[in-house]
Symmetry: C2
Subunit: 504 residues, 2 copies
């Protein structure tokens, strides 16, 4: 493993041979580590995980190396034994999807060849694949626009940042641009405004997790007519709610404001003929955040930003002699540089394209429908469970909020503390990865809920039933212990029963 031995690289004709040995080791290690872990995440809590990981990995940068196979064996074992694996049906905390094997395999090709998406002479074919992929995405989001376009991004956060940047530039001298968004918006909208030097967004109140159109109307009226961008959400992080897009589009239009929709979660409903109508109005947006490392089952990163017209991307154009000199572009070398705020970029379009071709729109739509159906089944199971209560109202896409009934019998703060404690207990025991969300209850009060974000494309309602008993048992324990809500997660007084953990 030193210079000149000719066995170092992943590329060229000999590279795949080097990779065969090393990827075999990786796959064997992943398999045995998943067995050792025996559940959705490691038992013992943060301190135990840190200890075991450090034992296998430190020092990360020794003076002398340990060799490729030893390093791979130890570190892959550490990361896999210590993973929260979304392929386990009990790992449902976040918009954190289990990736498809076909996408992961495609990503391996991208990593081995290492095209960089900022110039033709680093990515001749990868650039073409990206073009085909962004064209397909653009057409999906804005089917009737004459020249829709899309960019590949590192995720919803970058997509929202670029959307606000483009809007800021359109506002130009008549700015500053005012961003108007719902109380349900992702934090990245606020962060983008901060980064871009824009005034803090005006926040419109929500009812039942969705923007209140009358409130939006009032807020826009109060801005006095300067350039404004309304940011609506199609699939909120906490509740999976879709803002009333057609009404919001009409109100924005009436005020001369533009509309951006953060559809990082909900965008892939478009793959399903049955579910796409839930996104009616999306095509009225000047830009749409799309994300395929959520309901698209891609390994991170797989974000996109779709725009209604390719001319809207002009503010990103950039000329720099080493990447897109004028005479090179005039001579026919494609200019890739204006397609991102990054320079060097991984070919994330490749795994997306392979997945699209493999499954087709119909296959992707079926997987989305599966998740939505599973959430409905899970919701019914919660409703039927005497010790649990589901948040009243509709289920948002594939997100189910619920809490143990025992928490409802306590003072509000103590009840919320029990909910938080249940989540942490199951995390530390290594039995379940549930999320948390503060959301409006039937009485109009905001309470803390357990959140199950169901993105597993194969697990069904029955696979999730054990979660309900895990929650109930943990809730009884937490309520009995007083639910102070700040119990440590060191795990010393927590009985870890790895063998009883929920498994796929």
């Amino acid at each position: 493993m030193s210079a000149g031995t000719g066995d170092l690289l992943a590329g060229g004709v000999p590279g795949p041979g080097h990779l065969r040995t090393l990827t075999a080791l990786v796959l064997d290690t992943l398999e045995s580590a998943a067995r050792t872990r025996g559940g959705p995440l490691p038992a013992g809590g943060p301190d135990a995980v840190a200890r075991r990981t450090t034992d296998l990995c430190a020092p990360v940068l020794p003076e002398e190396g340990v060799g490729a196979e030893a390093a791979l064996g130890d570190l892959v074992r550490a990361v896999a034994e210590g993973a929260a694996d979304p392929a386990d049906p009990a790992c449902v905390a976040h918009l954190h999807c289990p990736p498809l094997a076909v996408a992961v395999a495609a990503d391996l090709a991208g990593a081995a060849l290492n095209p960089s998406m900022d110039s033709w002479d680093q990515a001749p074919a990868a650039g073409v694949i990206e073009d085909l992929t962004t064209a397909a995405l653009a057409r999906l989001v804005h089917p009737d626009a004459p020249a829709p376009d899309a960019l590949i991004t590192s995720g919803g956060t970058e997509s929202n940042l670029v959307a606000l940047l483009l809007a800021r530039e359109r506002a130009g001298a008549s700015g500053p641009l005012r961003v108007v968004t719902g109380a349900n918006a992702h934090h990245s909208v606020h962060r983008a405004a901060w980064m871009l030097g824009l005034p803090a967004p005006a926040v419109v109140a929500c009812h039942d997790g969705r923007i209140d159109p009358a409130g939006l109307d009032r807020t826009l009226s109060g801005l006095g007519g300067g350039p404004a961008l309304v940011v609506a959400t199609a699939g909120t992080t906490d509740e999976g709610r879709i803002d009333p897009l057609p009404e919001i589009a009409r109100i924005a239009d009436r005020h001369g404001a533009e509309l951006h929709v953060d559809a990082a979660y909900g965008g892939p409903l478009l793959f399903s003929e049955r579910l796409a109508p839930r996104l009616a109005g999306l095509d009225q947006a000047v830009s749409v955040t799309f994300d395929l490392h959520k309901l698209g089952w891609q390994p991170v990163a797989a974000g996109a930003l779709a725009v209604a017209d390719t001319a809207l991307l002009a503010p990103l154009s950039l000329r720099t002699d080493y990447l897109n000199a004028d005479d090179d572009t005039e001579a026919g070398l494609p200019d890739l540089l204006g397609r991102s705020i990054r320079t060097t970029r991984r070919p994330d379009a490749l795994k997306i394209a392979v997945t699209f071709r493999a499954l087709g729109r119909r296959g992707l739509g079926e997987l989305v429908e599966h998740c939505v159906r599973t959430a409905e089944e899970f919701g019914r199971a919660v409703d039927a469970h005497p010790a649990l209560r589901r948040r009243p109202g509709e289920i948002g896409i594939s997100t189910v909020l619920f809490r143990p009934a025992v928490a409802d019998g306590l003072e509000p703060e103590a009840g919320d503390a029990v909910v938080a404690e249940v989540r942490r207990t199951l995390l530390v025991d290594g039995r379940a990865v549930l999320g948390r969300a503060v959301a409006e209850d039937g009485d109009g009060r905001h309470r803390l809920w357990l959140k199950a974000t169901l993105l597993h494309p194969e697990a069904g309602g029955a696979d999730l039933l054990p979660l309900l008993d895990l929650v109930t048992e943990a809730a009884e324990r937490a309520a009995a212990e007083g639910g102070d809500g700040v119990g440590g997660v060191g795990g010393s007084d927590i009985e870890v029963r790895a063998t009883e953990r929920l498994s796929p």
Copy 2:
């Protein structure tokens, strides 16, 4: 390949089994495609590549899928046959490295497990590995600081953006922050200032590709004492030049300005005891851009931003209930959210950590030394070649600038056109991927040069000699044809001799 068959996912116990079949197909396809390509990039130019790629890949999103194996086979073949492969010694245009097999294999584990680096419950062990990795990087850059820290980024562009953002926040109400940088700085410095709403950077003239300290002094004097950030470069993109850091640090300090160093290219000189002294003064910087997808042989992305003190990262801290609620953090769940401007993040630290452990600091240093030595050998070969002329002066890190002597005999514009034409001809013929750079000649005039950025950790000077004859032949042709500089790259009148192309 539809919901419920249980063969879709990369994770869990069964995932590695699914991946074995699909990665075998990928590796076989990469190997046969590298043979078919037969050189550093596909022959025929952009139109031919677009045609072949589209034939294999379109429609990217069909109504019905073609299945995983067919999609993988076709698209991986397309991207590999159409790759500019940096593992080929004749692919030297950019800071575009051939990745190490060990890093690519580690990245496969990251993709299969898909941890997301924004919360503990999505990345229990991966978060620990990132901590260990950033600590090692921080200590490498700021060895004497009491509490250095580092962030993983998507590359130098994001690192520079975050560096300017942090400086803007430190300037606060006494701003606006003025950024002062060299004419040799990467375009991302200017882009970051634009994105962040800062005034355009003040640009200091360079001599021989490096910031002129007297010019910097004058520029800072002219700013009148407001908050300023000097951005110096350690390894310029065009010439591999390292700005005079100790002198720049002294001048900045005298003016009460802070120093950020973009060491995306040069940073890894620190791995080598022999070469590290070239970066003397780096530890005076408040922040340093570091990038391991250049002289660190990682597949993209592998950027970092090192800071002298962990408190400098405070402006990135962020609280959002679903990812780092107060009571979760108080209870001991690590808070990962303030470690990036992204939210969902791929575990790029894993491949870096595996590479570090595999090679050790000494092994990495030897690979960096190999590239520097190869550049010196290549430079001497250019000097000895009667039909070529090397740019006078020292070689910058591993970047060699040269031009065909025949271009020197023409009018300046026609000479530059010949240089540009040589590069395009070799690209279209599929024989070599050379870069281009405008840089100062011995007479003080700026001319266009061919650029060889030597990042191959195994190819030696002898492997690069065929490049010299390729350039000479192409230059003679271009000069004979008049060197109009805007000859098309359609390739119809260009004789493609794939079998004669330079191979590893």
